[in-house]
Symmetry: C2
Subunit: 210 residues, 2 copies
Amino acid sequence: MGTKERRDREREALRGEILAVARDLFIQEGYERVSMRRIAERIEYSPTTIYLYFRDKSEILDEICEQTFAKLARSMERIEAKGLEPLEGLREGCRTYIRFGLRNRHQYRLTFMVSGVQRDRERDREEDSSGFEGSMGERAFGFLVRAVERCREAGVLREIDVAVASQVVWAAIHGLTSLLITVSEEDFPWGETKSLIEETIETVTRGLMR
Amino acid sequence: MGTKERRDREREALRGEILAVARDLFIQEGYERVSMRRIAERIEYSPTTIYLYFRDKSEILDEICEQTFAKLARSMERIEAKGLEPLEGLREGCRTYIRFGLRNRHQYRLTFMVSGVQRDRERDREEDSSGFEGSMGERAFGFLVRAVERCREAGVLREIDVAVASQVVWAAIHGLTSLLITVSEEDFPWGETKSLIEETIETVTRGLMR
DNA sequence: CCGCTAGACTTAACGCTGTTAATTTCCTGA
DNA sequence: TCAGGAAATTAACAGCGTTAAGTCTAGCGG
């Protein structure tokens, strides 16, 4: 009897709808300002129904973040496929990363600017999906490592550990991204964003080359 | 009659105690996890009393952040007084900034990693203390600008706008600081922190010099 | 075709939260 | 001594994430 299969499908559909609604709300208004009750209202179910599909609020967020970073990882891997010369490939990856962060600011903030401490969930580390290993965040970072490695192979990298160099690149582009997200244009005299991005990328790559 | 003066003093004393207690709690447990009721308990007053001294919870936070960043600004200005050569002065400023962020991670997170949006307070922008202009954050950033400017005067800076170059430096050191705060050592294979810090500073300064 | 069970869903509630309105307590200046 | 005003409190509101208990119903075995 296909009834079980149909029910599974329906379950998955509702789960998906919760995710879709929650993502829209989180993006529009930010995680903290969206309540379970409001999500429930939008899907036209009672608040407690959500708990039949997700352990808690932060699990919804995790899933959304993972989806989003899958998108980032794909974008960055697409660059790899373009077969640019090593240095330009690294630059292009940085551009993609920053642009991605700015276009998905809420999700970016939630995954990389919110410490595990405050994001309540001390729900005792049963190493499920959580953690960096195997996550989409790792895949995106993996791109950076490979891009830097290719620069090293091409002989343009200065004497520096590839892992450390990748972390430096990450720090720089994450720093710019998160500052632009956090500190609004009316609070700080940022000049033209585009040239700031280019100069940041230029500076960090120059600083890593011989 | 000194009674008004005495009352003012007492008021100020209690205000100060609230700030002190709140700072300790915020640092230990983070802003969101500390409730007004808990602060009140510690100072042995009823929760509502706090509202006679602060407009709301976020005003307490603002004041604490301003205090903290006054400390940072002083640290950085102390470096200026040391009269190091321009490049080393810039480097030392970066070190100080990062170390400061790591030692005051909660406060750092709260001022530079929490967007104005989520920190409720849309309390309609009556340009009181809020905003970058005149803030301690500006003073700390001002140090960076001057340090970069001195490098330019010494002729070691490459062709680049000083304001932009300062922003690039800020992005890099902020990026590293916030990543180290957010992504714990058990979530990501950071190597030795000290050398990562040095390499980041080295990279960004190299990248800005001719 | 009927009764039952498993799953889906809801209602009611707990114990929090930040904040406000109304009220009480206390001190001081006349 | 007493009025006035500042300081502090009590009670309450509206919201939160989450859980326990109860209801409803579709689809199965008999």
